[in-house]
Symmetry: C2
Subunit: 429 residues, 2 copies
């Protein structure tokens, strides 16, 4: 009987692990609660109506169709029982494993204020993206109907909290929407009156970048029309806006891009988690007590050459490939199950960092090169099209972007579902 | 002060009315509860994962942006007060009019069984299409997890109720999905085992077509793998399947394509409605007591040359254009407000009928020509691309269809939202 490798989560880490097991003498089961793999770096484009959901997502079973040793199950994992080597699914079924790769990623963290989520949704899944798209587009619709200038101003104020890569690209795109996309479409106000405010607790935007690039990013944001407020800690969020210390900013649309917490599944592994809820793993990416359990991607607290491995997609892909190879190496019997001596430890290869800000605006570090502006933006653009899964999606995204670039249009300005009670639109009877 | 024309609903009727008022010396307000105009003839493609929502929908205010006399409001209309010439919106605001064009269309009718809707959703809006897409794709996901053969068979049985154009195209596409699209993607069953059953109360499919074409449509459906059951009246629907008389068919996915009822807004016009809830209109498409109130599209019970005007999109477009011209004619003062003598009555021009069944399969009547099969399918295809709104959408749909035709793939197999309690997938915490 062949060994059974179970992969939990089919983001970049899980997908690359499953693909690295192609043709290997193991049975593989991939379990994800969604039916699709999501190209998360472009999720903000779905949230800002630039792309449709199918352009950046592909059915997991379609991607892995040709890989005959893989079974895909769409299910939520309830718990992991490391003692019995089994995972329990939402329907109560158990799936036993010989090797387990846990790659369930991260979710939003509201720093002890879960009540903020209702009024400040974060961006991790397609559901999140649709909800944010809905709020942005409906805010302008409300502004068109609103006669009270103060209330209208609140509908036309967009707050993004957290100036990491997601916050920066959201803010830049929101400014472009107000200044260009929607221009001329409203009769009761000028859409370029809309304010986009990026709120950051620390001293700079994109704080993981070197100070010069970080300053350039801020410049580019301000040129696009974004108000950047650094060293501003949010102390309250409700349906009417936010508090920064004692100062109140009235805004109907608030987007959370500040905190990330590891997937709660880490808790069921029986190891002590780090402050962000991540699972500490050894040099072979497995947990100390269970060398057959690997944790990869954003859920893992891994190190490479003594430095923490960053929570970005290239790292997840590299960890996925490594875990798969590690398993196959063990199965070939060239080493004992617990030993790591004869197989090199995981080593993260840093290809650089890329962050987009908006039209013609980005910052990039590639090797020793640092650049910003139009060139960085072009690199960002082609890198993202290159890494997109599937030929069709590449063509569609390239076409949509080309058209959007020249027309300043956004092609997915469709709102589906009006169920939020914050809006008085009724759903169809 | 210019006259104010208010258009309720921006389907084909409302949109063509608004566009026919371009440049006219009137103010126009278009009110719709969605932010988009929907190309409804292709909605079944969104429901069956062939197209993304933005491919067949465009923001109303974007379509009408250049028409400077038009204001677009996204709002639900609560009621129409014909005495005070005002419509009341969901927020309580009133919008007064000099002329009103009511074009709010139709919704599903369950023939006195509203409780069936939960287990047999119909297809009118993008929300409906996403819900049906979700049920279809998740049914296969459940089948992959289900070990009990009988329960699995229920997940793999797809019932479509009603063999009009929508039911026929849904059934044909569902058969193609099972036989081609999903083939080879599941490990625990063969997707071509899935049964697609089209249930119709009358004696034939596409009963508005001549008997020979109707018979050909049935042939083509059966060749695609659809089981056609005519003269089968549904007497019960629940979460486990349907009843036809005393016979029970177990099925987890049931789609309703049988009945249509006019929009409930017709009731507030104070006129006696016909059996289907439609508003009887005179030869100038206005209601008897209020010549300034026009009713067009699926909500209107109109006649042309003594015959009822059919509830199809070309008729709605023609009525929309006619109502706009009629208003402008009255404003030019060439006739009294109530008279219809000097302006010709509405005349429906019948360009024919087209219904698609599936790959290479369709039936068509154009003038005196009748044809079916590949040629009819090509005509259907190019007609639909031609009539799609917007250059981008035409390209995207053409590209998606070309790729889908050669690959047998469907490009929008993405499920968003797992909130239905019929499924035990949990939503993210």
């Amino acid at each position: 009987m062949e060994n059974h490798v179970v992969v939990l989560g089919c983001g970049f880490g899980g997908l690359f692990a499953a693909q690295a097991l192609n043709g290997a003498p193991v049975r593989v089961t991939v379990i994800d609660r969604a039916n699709h793999h999501l190209f998360q770096p472009l999720l903000y484009q779905v949230a800002t109506a630039g792309l449709s959901a199918p352009a950046i997502a592909a059915p997991i079973r379609q991607i892995l169709e040709a890989q005959k040793n893989v079974t895909v199950l769409m299910a939520e994992v309830q718990t992991i029982d490391t003692a019995r080597k089994a995972v329990v699914l939402d329907g109560g079924e158990e799936v036993t494993y010989d090797f387990l790769i846990v790659a369930t990623g991260a979710t939003h963290s509201y720093f002890g204020h879960p009540e903020w989520e209702r009024d400040a949704p974060g961006l991790k899944t397609l559901e999140d993206a649709f909800e944010i798209r809905r709020r942005i587009l409906l805010a302008y619709e409300h502004a068109e109907r609103e006669r009270d200038p103060q209330k209208r101003a609140a509908w036309l104020t967009f707050l993004v909290i957290g100036a990491g890569p997601t916050g920066v690209e959201m803010a830049g795109t929101l400014a472009e929407i107000s200044r260009h996309t929607l221009r001329g479409e409203f009769r009761n106000f000028d859409s370029s009156q809309a304010r986009v405010i990026l709120v950051e607790g620390s001293a700079s935007v994109l704080s993981t970048y070197p100070p010069d690039l970080s300053a350039k990013a801020r410049d580019q944001l301000e040129r696009l029309g974004v108000t950047v407020r650094t060293e501003s800690r949010v102390t309250g969020i409700d349906a009417e806006g936010i508090l920064i210390g004692q100062e109140r900013i009235a805004a109907k649309t608030v987007i959370w891009a500040a905190g990330v917490a590891a997937s709660p599944l880490g808790k069921s592994l029986g190891v002590e988690l780090d402050r962000a809820g991540r699972v500490p793993v050894g040099p072979e990416l497995s947990i100390a007590a269970h060398p057959e359990v690997f944790v990869i991607g954003d859920l893992a607290a891994a190190t490479s050459d003594g430095k923490p491995v960053p929570g970005i997609s290239p790292a997840a892909k590299q960890m996925g490939r490594y875990a798969a190879k590690r398993i196959l190496h063990r199965l070939r019997g060239s080493t004992d199950a617990g030993s790591t001596n004869t197989f090199p430890p995981f080593q993260y290869k840093d290809y650089g960092q890329l962050a987009t800000i908006g039209r013609n605006a980005a910052v990039a570090i590639i090797g020793k090169l640092r650049f910003s502006g139009y060139l960085a933006w072009l690199v960002w653009l082609f890198a993202h099209i290159y890494f997109l899964i599937g030929f069709r999606n590449r063509i569609v995204v390239l076409f949509d972007w080309a058209l959007a670039y020249w027309s300043f249009e956004r092609n997915a300005r469709i709102v589906v579902g009006n169920k939020d009670s914050r809006f008085h639109f009724k759903s169809p009877s």
